[in-house]
């Protein structure tokens, strides 16, 4: 596919912490700790990481959904939209309002609960899209119906309540809601978890199709590496609030340069597996009290003294490929015999 190298999103030195005070004890959780990343127009960028790695908080900042106790402590999140640049980490609510849905939209996790249970789908479409689209009455209706047809949804769904639709239909409705205004940047937060495998594949294809058709950029978040293999152009791995490696999907799978990535890739099931995959020992670090040095060192098979003391910087290790590891040269792909199921060539 063609790729324009124009940048749509620049995140620089972003730090976002949870600051809480409960029963006299104050706590600070460093959910996003110094992340720098850029995303290009017309690409699908995958973000991976285990639960409580800070990827959800990162996404909240990207989506301009920063609400106490989460606070941006440092850094910028700058979008280059067609109506001008905007730093959503520091913009006023009114400024953010001008880009919401028309330029920046969001597919939320959990299709079961993102639709108002007592509102008909058509009414929800009006609430979400009427203002950004600037259409009314029949013109609006026509636009929505056409868009739904593209998602293979009959116009009847507009008169239905969420509980009357199947899980897959509901997910397609939420994708429809997020894309009906043809946004430039779509954040998709685990859109396929809790769907069964067949529907999952369909939904992934749909997101991919819509993205190519509309020429939007998509940030795709999931802990499931096989999903990334299917949809992402580039993948970034988040561990304990930090970006630890980033690169083109193929490189990430065949030549990972961070032991954590190597482990994630190796734990994918492959056709012809006879043995159980080795599990990573230990637990993800507590973000209220992260370990010194490289945060992965307590679980890292390659850890040396330096890793325990000094934080590794991001190093460029190949075209488009960066990693934060002192020993990236020694990282071997744990399994490199066959390609993981479904990696796109």
């Amino acid at each position: 596919m063609t790729r324009e190298n124009e940048v749509i999103l620049e995140v620089e030195n972003l730090k976002a912490y949870y600051q809480m005070n409960y029963f006299g004890v104050s706590r600070e959780v460093r959910a996003v700790d110094d992340i720098t990343v850029t995303m290009r127009k017309n690409e699908v960028y995958g973000i991976a990481g285990e639960s409580s790695s800070g990827k959800t908080s990162f996404i909240k900042v990207l989506a301009a959904a920063i609400r106490p106790p989460l606070r941006v402590v440092q850094g910028t999140v700058k979008y280059n939209f067609s109506n001008g640049p905007i730093d959503v980490a520091h913009a006023t609510p009114e400024q953010i309002e001008t880009v919401r849905w028309k330029h920046l939209s969001y597919i939320m996790q959990g299709s079961m609960s993102v639709l108002n249970p007592v509102r008909r789908i058509g009414k929800t479409f009006q609430d979400f899209a009427q203002r950004p689209l600037g259409l009314k009455g029949e013109a609006f209706e026509e636009r929505v119906v056409n868009h739904l047809a593209r998602l293979k949804l009959p116009p009847d769904v507009l008169r239905a309540y969420p509980h009357e639709l199947s899980g897959g239909m509901r997910q397609r409705v939420t994708i429809g809601l997020a894309t009906v205004c043809h946004p430039e940047f779509i954040i998709a937060d685990e859109p396929t978890t809790a769907l069964d495998v067949v529907v999952q594949k369909e939904v992934l294809q749909l997101i991919r199709d819509i993205q190519t058709e509309m020429g939007a950029s998509v940030v795709f978040v999931t802990h499931d590496m096989s999903v990334h293999a299917n949809v992402a152009d580039r993948v970034g791995i988040i561990y304990a609030g930090r970006l630890v490696e980033e690169g083109p999907t193929r490189d990430m799978f065949f030549a990972p340069k961070h032991p954590y990535t190597a482990h994630l890739v190796a734990s994918l099931p492959r056709i012809g597996d006879t043995q159980q995959r080795p599990a990573l020992e230990g637990r993800p670090p507590n973000l209220a009290d992260p370990p010194q040095g490289c945060r992965f060192h307590p679980r890292c098979p390659l850890a040396v003294d330096k890793c325990r003391k000094e934080v590794p910087p991001m190093e460029v290790v190949g075209p488009d490929h960066r990693t934060a590891c002192w020993r990236w040269k020694d990282v071997e792909p744990l399994v490199n015999t066959t390609a993981p199921a479904g990696v796109m060539a």
Binding site: M20, N21, Y22, F23, G24, P68, P69
Partner: protein
């Protein structure tokens, strides 16, 4: 349980205030055990004396020292409230746990009965009881009647908790380990239900004392037994406000407000403690 109380006193203003208010009233009511005079006797002192160093709360037109009169009245009313609360707790825990745990047709039948009790207006029934029993209606009979009507809301609440507990892992473990149903209910589930029972206990006291006040003010109880309600009844029947014996009414009303606010604050802050989502809200704010 004790540590919950300690935390609540330390960090929850409402709970602390409620505890102080209720504490004051309990001490005040407890003084009646040392009362120098029998509160049911009349014309023991000079009538209609305003509050003074000698008569702190004044005296009423029936020649009673209001301090000791009210102390006895609050003791009786609190006792009454506790009796009703204990009795109706027994019913609501039994019904709630049984309905939630056994389920099936037992649940359906119990909840059907429950809904009927919710829908019957209790006040006319109470008046009817007084009407046919007249002087046979002592405060224990009334406590029994109120207890029979005071359980359905809380039974429903406990049932929903029990339903949740039933599907939790530890219940299945207990059942696999061969624990009897009775034992699972008493030893595994009751501790979870207890905080709710305490919170509803306070609410139930509020309700039953309120009912007693209402009935007594109308003269529909044993009016010679000093309670919060009968004090007001006698004040009204002597037209205390009109003849200027204002302390006969104002002081009891203030004390009633203190009692009810105190109990209410205790119940509400306990409720908030039980519902973790409202705790999260505190945290966010």
């Amino acid at each position: 349980m004790f540590s919950i109380f300690r935390d609540l006193v330390r960090y929850n203003v409402e709970f602390a205030i409620g505890l102080v208010l209720v504490g004051i009233m309990v001490v005040f009511a407890g003084l009646s055990f040392f009362s120098p005079i029998d509160p049911s006797l009349i014309y023991m002192t000079i009538p209609d004396q305003p509050p003074s160093a000698q008569f702190w709360f004044g005296t009423n037109s029936r020649g009673q020292d209001m301090f000791w009169q009210l102390s006895a009245a609050f003791k009786n009313s609190l006792q009454f409230g506790i009796t009703v609360a204990v009795l109706s707790r027994i019913i609501s825990i039994t019904v709630g746990l049984a309905a939630g745990y056994i389920g099936g047709w037992v649940d359906r039948v119990l909840m059907f009965v429950n809904d009927i009790f919710v829908a019957v207006p209790i006040f006319p029934i109470l008046v009817l009881f007084y009407f046919v029993l007249r002087n046979h209606m002592d405060s224990f009979t009334m406590a029994l009647i109120l207890a029979c009507f005071g359980w359905p809301f809380d039974a429903r609440l406990i049932r929903s908790v029990a339903l949740g507990l039933k599907h939790r892992e530890f219940t299945r473990h207990a059942v696999f380990a061969g624990m009897s149903t009775r034992k699972v209910l008493l030893e595994e589930h009751l501790p979870y239900v207890m905080p709710i029972v305490f919170a509803t206990f306070m609410n139930n006291m509020l309700w039953s004392i309120g009912m007693e006040v209402t009935l007594a003010v109308l003269g529909f109880t044993n009016i010679n037994n000093p309670t919060i309600g009968t004090v007001l009844y006698w004040a009204n029947s002597h037209s205390a406000m009109v003849v200027g014996v204002w302390w006969w009414l104002v002081i009891p009303v203030i004390l009633i407000v203190i009692t009810f606010l105190g109990l209410f604050l205790l119940a509400m802050s306990m409720n908030e403690y039980i519902d973790p989502r409202s705790r999260l809200r505190r945290m966010g704010a």
